[in-house]
Amino acid sequence: MVSFLTHFTAEIRKLKGTRVIWLAAIAPFFVVITAWLAAFLNGDRMYVRGVNPWIDFTGHVLIGWTLFVFPIYVSLLSALFHSIEHRADMWKMVYSLPIPRAVVYFVKFLLFTAIVFFSHILLWGMAESGGWLLGIARPSLDFQFYSLHRVLLEGCSGCFLAGLGVVAIQFFLGFRYSSFLIPAGMGLLITMTGAISRSWPVSQASPYLWAVSFFNSSIDVHNWQYIFILLGIVTYCLVGLAGKYSAPDRI
C-alpha cells in the first residue's frame, strides 16, 4: 500500500509542466464555453420563454461533450500521458526501480482514470457556473429562475461511467505503442467513424459511442440507457486487467 501511494505521488509529480493537466481542463472548458457563447449570443432564439433554459443548455453541454469532444480528448490524453515515459525511453529507469511491475501499470491506469474523472468534475462545475453566469449576463433567458442540478450531476457521472470503456482501451493503446500517432490517430478515426455511422444500430457496439448512447439523444433521465454504464464498467475492468498481461514489458 505504501509502495502504491508513494508511486502514485511520484506519477503525479511527473505530470508537472506537461500539457496533460491543461488538456484535462481545456477539453470541458471548450464544450461549456461553446454552449455558453451560443446561449449568450443566440439565446433568445434558442430557448422558449417559460421553459427551463437549463434543459437545452445542459443538453448542448452533455451531448457536445460525449459525441465528439470526450472520445477525442481521451485519445489525445492517452498519447500525451504515455509520451512522458515513451519520449526519453524512461521505461528502463522505471523498471529498474524496486517497484512491482503491476504497481507501475495499475498506478498509471488509475491516475489516467482520475484525470478523466477530474475533467468530468470540471465539466459539471463549469456547466453549473456557466448557467449561473448566464442568469446574470442575460437575465432575459431566465436561467436565474430555474435549475437542473441533479440531472447535470447525474449526466456527468453517467457519461464518465459509460465512457470508462474508451478510457481503458485508449490507455492500453498508449501504453502498448510508443508512437504518439497510434493512440491519438486510432481514437480520432474510430470517433469520426462512430459519429458518421451513429444512425446504424450496430454502431452502438463501439465503446467510443457508449457515453453518447447512454443519453439516448435526450437529457430526460427516463430515456437514459443504463446498460451503457454497465458495459463501460465491465469493459474498463476487463481491458484494464488484460492490458497488464498483454502489454510487453516496456524496456
Binding site: 509529480r13 509542466g17 523498471y95 529498474s96
Partner: protein
C-alpha cells in the same frame, strides 16, 4: 572476496539470434569491476538481464545470493543503475527527477542534496534537465543511481559525453565509492585507459562470449611477455635471435621486440647478444597496455589462453 553477482552459463537470444553464449561471471563484493567489449558484444544485454529488464531464460543470475527472477524487487532495492544514456524527465528539474527516484526507494530526503553535491549539480538543481548539457545529464544519471545508498552500482558507460575533467571526477568518485564506502561498482566502458586506471577486476566480452575475467594483474600475466632490446646493431641482433628460434614481432629504428615465454630466456638472449660481440644498451620487459591487450583479444579471440 565473496561474489556479489554470480552469473552461470547465461545465454540469451533475440528471436533466432543468440547474443550471449554460456556467459559465466563472478563479480567480487567490494570490487570495481570493469566490463569491456566492442559494440554489439552483449554488454548492455547482460546489464539489462542483471537488472531484470530482460527475462533470463534460465536461473543463471544470482545477485546478493538471490535469483533475479524471483527476488527482483529485493535486489533492485540494493542496486543503483545507469543504463546507456541517462533516462531523465526532461520537463522536470534535477531535484524533481531525483525526488521521483527517492520516493520509489523510500530513502531520506536529505540524500538529494548530498548526491547533487557529489556530482556537482547543487547550483543547477532547480533547472529543467532539458536545458542540461550531455555531461550534466550524465552526472545526474549517476546521482540517480546513488539515491538510496545502494550496495551495488551498475553503470553502463557512465563517462559518455563528459569532458576530461568530468571523466576524472567520475573516476575519483567511483574509486571513492568503492574504497571508502564499500560499494561494489560494475561499470561498462569503452574508455580503456579509464578502465585501466580505475578497476580492480575486469571481464572482456566479444560476440557474446567471455574472453577473460579476473584481476588486471592476472590479465597482464596471461599476456605473452615481450622484451624491448636496444643494441648498437639492432638488425644484426634480430638476425641472431631469429636464428636462435626467437620470434621478433616488431622492429623499430631504436629497438626490437622479442617474444619470450619464460623469464630465463631473457638471460639467454642477453648472453647470445654479448657472445656475438654486440653492445646491449637496454633489456626491458614491456608491459602491454589494456588497450593493446583488448584489441589483440577482440581481433583474434582464438589466441587467448583462458
Amino acid at each position: 572476496m565473496t561474489p556479489i553477482i554470480q552469473i552461470s552459463q547465461l545465454s540469451h537470444c533475440f528471436g533466432k539470434q543468440q547474443v550471449l553464449h554460456d556467459l559465466s561471471l563472478e563479480i567480487p563484493s567490494g570490487s570495481l569491476f570493469g566490463f569491456l567489449g566492442p559494440n554489439g558484444s552483449g554488454k548492455t544485454t547482460t546489464i539489462r538481464l542483471l537488472l531484470g529488464l530482460l527475462k533470463s531464460q534460465n536461473n543463471a543470475i544470482r545477485i546478493f545470493g538471490q535469483d533475479i527472477r524471483s527476488c527482483r524487487e529485493s535486489i533492485l532495492r540494493r542496486t543503483g543503475a545507469l543504463i546507456e544514456s541517462p533516462a531523465l524527465y526532461l520537463h522536470l528539474s534535477a531535484h524533481d527527477n531525483l525526488e521521483i527516484i527517492r520516493s520509489a526507494r523510500q530513502s531520506d530526503k536529505r540524500q538529494l542534496a548530498e548526491v547533487l553535491e557529489i556530482v556537482g549539480l547543487s547550483g543547477q538543481a532547480r533547472q529543467k534537465t532539458g536545458e542540461y548539457s550531455l555531461g550534466m545529464r550524465q552526472r545526474l544519471g549517476i546521482a540517480m543511481a546513488m539515491i538510496g545508498n545502494p550496495e551495488l552500482l551498475i553503470l553502463d558507460e557512465p563517462t559518455n559525453g563528459l569532458d576530461p575533467a568530468g571523466i576524472r571526477q567520475i573516476r575519483e568518485l567511483l574509486l571513492a565509492l568503492c574504497q571508502h564506502h564499500g560499494k561494489t561498482v560494475f561499470v561498462s566502458s569503452h574508455l580503456l585507459d579509464e578502465i585501466e586506471k580505475t578497476v580492480s577486476h575486469l571481464a572482456i566480452l566479444h560476440d557474446g562470449r567471455l574472453l577473460f575475467q579476473g584481476s588486471l594483474a592476472q590479465l597482464h600475466e596471461q599476456q605473452p611477455l615481450q622484451l624491448a632490446i636496444e643494441t648498437d646493431n639492432n638488425l644484426h641482433a634480430a638476425e641472431i635471435l631469429r636464428n636462435a628460434n626467437f620470434r621478433i614481432p616488431e622492429i623499430t629504428q631504436d629497438r626490437l621486440f622479442v617474444a619470450v615465454a619464460e623469464k630465463h630466456q631473457i638471460d639467454r638472449i642477453n648472453r647470445l647478444l654479448l657472445e656475438e660481440g654486440l653492445c646491449v644498451y637496454e633489456l626491458n620487459r614491456k608491459q602491454r597496455t589494456l588497450e593493446e591487450v583488448f584489441f589483440s583479444m577482440t581481433a583474434d579471440p582464438s589466441r587467448i589462453n583462458l
